[in-house]
Subunit: 405 residues, 2 copies
Amino acid sequence: MASLEEQLELIQSGTSEIVPLADLKKKLAEGRPLRIKLGVDPTAPDLHLGHAVPLRKLRQFQDLGHVVVLIIGDFTARIGDPSGRNTTRPALTAEQIEENAATYIAQANKILNPDLTELRRNSEWLGKMDFADVIKLTANFTVARILERDDFAKRIAEQKPISLHELLYPAAQAMDSVAIEADVELGGTDQLFNLLAGRELMEKRGMAPQVCLTLPLLEGLDGVQKMSKSYGNYIGLTDGADDMFGKAMSIPDELMIKYFTLATPLAPAEIGQIEAGLTDGSRHPNAVKRRLAREIVALYHDAAAAEAAEAAFDLVFKQHEIPEDIPEATVAEVATPGEDGSIYLPALMLACGLASSASEARRLIDGGGVKLDGKPLLKGAYQCQPAALKAAVLQVGKRRFIRLT
Amino acid sequence: MASLEEQLELIQSGTSEIVPLADLKKKLAEGRPLRIKLGVDPTAPDLHLGHAVPLRKLRQFQDLGHVVVLIIGDFTARIGDPSGRNTTRPALTAEQIEENAATYIAQANKILNPDLTELRRNSEWLGKMDFADVIKLTANFTVARILERDDFAKRIAEQKPISLHELLYPAAQAMDSVAIEADVELGGTDQLFNLLAGRELMEKRGMAPQVCLTLPLLEGLDGVQKMSKSYGNYIGLTDGADDMFGKAMSIPDELMIKYFTLATPLAPAEIGQIEAGLTDGSRHPNAVKRRLAREIVALYHDAAAAEAAEAAFDLVFKQHEIPEDIPEATVAEVATPGEDGSIYLPALMLACGLASSASEARRLIDGGGVKLDGKPLLKGAYQCQPAALKAAVLQVGKRRFIRLT
């Protein structure tokens, strides 16, 4: 087993906060396998690298010999938002939940060690509670303390209504920690309040309180918004190897180290060396990004698939004689999507300096002189979905290129 | 059956608010027996005239042919206040609750018509609710709306903590209205919010919403504080006839009409005549107060007991040659209780002008020249419990009297 210091170094890497760190040290010093909790909302079937951040941290705990307790939040998913105000919380049938849970677990098992994963559904204990139990549970919380939570405080400031039932969810999540006797609970930085509520409830019940460990939100490929399906800036855990490699190559340089830390299995020491190399110029950013892309593909496929994906990536550029060092343009900055969400290419070409006017751009497209990733655009193909432009190279004639990001 | 106008006149007499009055008219016009709800907390075993105010109103509804649904709040009484902050809400055993409920019902049946009373315990429906049901129920309320309630708003202003479970009680009370399909719910003026919450929940459930009827709080015998056991200013429903008559005679003149309205079965028209008589001087206040005292005793005992109590009351005064028209003094104004709660009589006598000094007062007492309700005080009996002074006459020698209130 790793030493206390080694364990701490790995566990702390990439975290935002560990509250309180002293308790974590004490628990690790006990030398027993700790119970590491992650609560999962079974409403989103497709996972991406953002979802994988806490899963990677769980895997690190498993590699250190600890036990992961993955809680499927089937209880609240079945209820949804009865007030009807929250469209992201629809009521799901038991079948939908089981289907989502199965998909989730299949994807999570690309990262986790199933032998050290305990899978629980919180309907096991929350479904058995009656009104009297709920009153006893909620008596442990004060209204003021719950309304301090960021999202509630914001809605109060904006005079947006908060339904009474929403205040019950932090209490329910805290109850999960009691039920599974969590030693550590993981969450995003925006979850700190809920994690602390679990800690407080355990203390009031006379249990050893859990340690709260928060992880930063991972920015998506645009480098700005958090990774999310709705922003289209994500790498899905089930993406094909070539697709995954190409998307990874569009990660902004300044986020590479964060991605290494939060999205790959590289040890903190090795990531430190890479960072130092980038800083002193001994490593080239393009080479580092290729390494990052290979690591990500190898994690969700395998090393051979990663090599093949890199070769395929190179082939596109070599085959079409696309030089590696070409100017870049961010689609979101140079083009505005139409009402249907599509991009009008002649306007984009004009904005990028690939044509002197929209009508010239249209003539170039119609004449077969404009290629997207090496393939000529068809006559009249002026509209293009933003997804098709992601990390693509737009080429006019033989020598003019723009890499879109 | 009484006409709509007659019903309205009786129902409206003595009420604070009827929200909305139009709905009450509509419901009465349907000509069916309405279901009139009163929720009762089975924690206080002894009822007094203050508790009787809503019971009297229920009786009026019964006299008009409507049905009373008396809800024993056994569900929440069994839980108490799990946060331990509220000492007036201890957890009660099922046996204690049944015992209190039996006592309550026995006392309430001095006023109500048992044949038109439906007795329910809210554990019937609240006890069957699980966590999911609670979430669905609370989704009907917004936090802001509940925190507007007077007592919550006050605690927020004073930065006193509110436990999360306390927010569930208005929802539970509203659920009671749904469960018994209330047409009208009664409560004190401080209950209006809770009554309205029931109305709103019924509307959201697609039911004909209940009408909220509030009644004023009855001031106690001191004419200042609301009637309450803890202020010692009450007439208990189980008080003996003589005691009840004597206490009623100490009701302040300016509250007589309110007591007639809220605490006797006299019709509004007759109370109107009494009030007019007092105003034009055709009725003497003392005669009116005797009538009030007789009415109250007759209600909880019978007419014969009322006459006997009046005769006994007169006898005390005649026997001891106490004139009816003697000066009065309010104990709380002329004396300060000591640390043990007792009154030092020499100081009181001095303050009332019955002695020129405390030492003279002590001499008078020791000499047997001071009587309380006709009985001479013993030598050295300087300390007296406030209860013994209530409505008592303090006499020095043959001619100096003070009626204490």
